[in-house]
Amino acid sequence: MVQEHELEPETVDIGVNMGPQHPSTHGVFRMVLTIDGERVVDVEPHIGYMHRGAEKLSESMDYRAAIGFQDRTDYLAQFMNEQAYCMAVEELLELEVPERSEYIRVILCELNRVTSHLMFLGAFGIDLGYFGTSFTYGFRERERIQDIFEEVTGDRLMYAYFRPGGLAWDVPDNFVQMVRDVLPHTRQGLKDLDLLMTQNEIVAVRTKGIGAMSAEESINWGLSGPLLRAAGVDWDLRKDKPYSIYDRFDYDIPLGSHGDLFDRFLVRLEEARQSLCIVEQALDQLPDGPIMPEKMPRRLRGPEAEVYTAVEGARGEYGVYLVSKGGDKPYRLKMRSPSFCNLSALRDMTVGSYVADAVAILGSIDIVLGCVDR
């Protein structure tokens, strides 16, 4: 005889632990998914596995020495972090950055944006579970730019090249030629990725309409960068709050309309192309001259003040809030990391989607755990 409760099976939600050692969580990030069948009903993110106290460490040493820790926050877009930090110190100490340094900074930052987006485009293929190919393509092109960085700064990842006031040393003589030689390869690489993924039906099925976020929600969550622009909000600090010398170049800000994974992919692809345009213009205009201000104090001593500077990093608004109480160390240094703010919206994006898409959604936020935990 069949008992009654067997006729009416009960469903229970299961908790699934993803990370911190999951191959596709982009670093040491842990999500506790509550799933109902294949649907995600709740997500609980756990962060802090990579907390190194970068803010506190930067507070414990003088303004020059702390530059090394800025690279280590968002380690895929290091120049932008250095730029934000240096801008904060420059504003505090009222240092005037020479033209040439500004141009070199812009060139390196924009190339850095391209490498970061290439990394995203590559890794996104893997997150969709299909394209290990895109990863190798992305890395192949990234490597060429990485070689330029190595030639200029001497290091492959932790550049520590910008200094408050300018740069550590001048670029090599063949810098302009070197970059010009690499640009066609990068263009070709972006085209390859475009051909490989944009019209591919599998990518379309896995990305269109998934993880969508409306413009209003995005603003409410405080998203920034490509994520916000994919939702159709025209907000880019380079255009809307011009810093450095970005007002001298002619470029477009790509916008999406649905805010889903596909738009985020497209926005980043186009942004990388626009960055190459900026690099080309900056190379044409690159002036000669000194790289450090003439009156550079030997010891950097700040007045009692507070400054906040922000740059448009590869992932969004990267800001540095610096409080000085005099002396050669910051009293407080706060980094506004775009990865952390964008990650906070993960739950709203993920709930209701399939488990397999959770990884893709996380990938589309393009977090860097070093930047989330600092």
């Binding site: 460490l57 040493m61 020059r64 020495a65 702390a66 530059i67 090394g68 820790f69 190919t133 393509y137 192949r140 490597e143 190595e150 030639e151 200029v152 700064t153 001497g154 290091d155 932790m158 520590a160 550590a168 040393w169 090599p172 390859d192 051909l195 490989l196 993924m197 944009t198 019209q199 591919n200 039906e201 599998i202 990518v203 379309a204």
Partner: protein
């Protein structure tokens, strides 16, 4: 379907390109001149002593506090062979902690320290962490044996 064919096309086209990778341990690519591996000390060949005077400037500036320097009176100065009154006595750098930030090189007033720009500065894996703490002789040996290339004095 068209999208899939495009993807296929690009994959096959890539197959025909020349490879960009090299087989690493067998082959080494050139490192750039500015390459920053780990800091080493330089040897003054004219006087036959280290350039370093043990002034502690680098030790104080190092963000991760991985250096230890001590200073002594220079015996060669007493013999009037050297202009350096003080000279380095002991010097340790913990490569396991060093973050290769170049700050020690920038603060040194005697150009006594420089970043290694050869492969020898990169292939340093050891079985024991303590082996990564290099003493004065080890730090000087690279330059003494002329194993480093001419570099840009930054």
């Amino acid at each position: 379907m068209i999208g899939i064919f495009k993807s296929m096309y690009i994959t096959f086209a890539t197959m025909l390109r020349t490879p960009v990778t090299i087989e690493y341990p067998a082959k080494h690519r050139d490192v750039p001149q500015r390459d920053r591996a780990f800091p080493i000390l330089l040897w003054d060949k004219e006087v036959d002593e280290p350039f370093c005077t043990g002034c502690h400037a680098c030790e104080r500036a190092c963000p991760v506090e991985c250096m230890t320097v001590t200073m002594k009176d220079n015996p060669l100065h007493a013999d009037e062979k050297s202009t350096r009154r003080k000279i380095v006595d002991e010097f340790w750098i913990d490569y396991g902690r060093c973050m290769r930030c170049n700050i020690c090189v920038e603060v040194c007033n005697f150009e006594a320290i420089a970043m290694n720009n050869t492969w020898a500065g990169h292939e340093l894996s050891k079985f024991d962490r303590n082996d990564l703490v290099l003493d004065l002789q080890q730090l000087l040996s690279q330059h003494k044996q002329d194993k480093i290339d001419a570099w840009v004095a930054e």
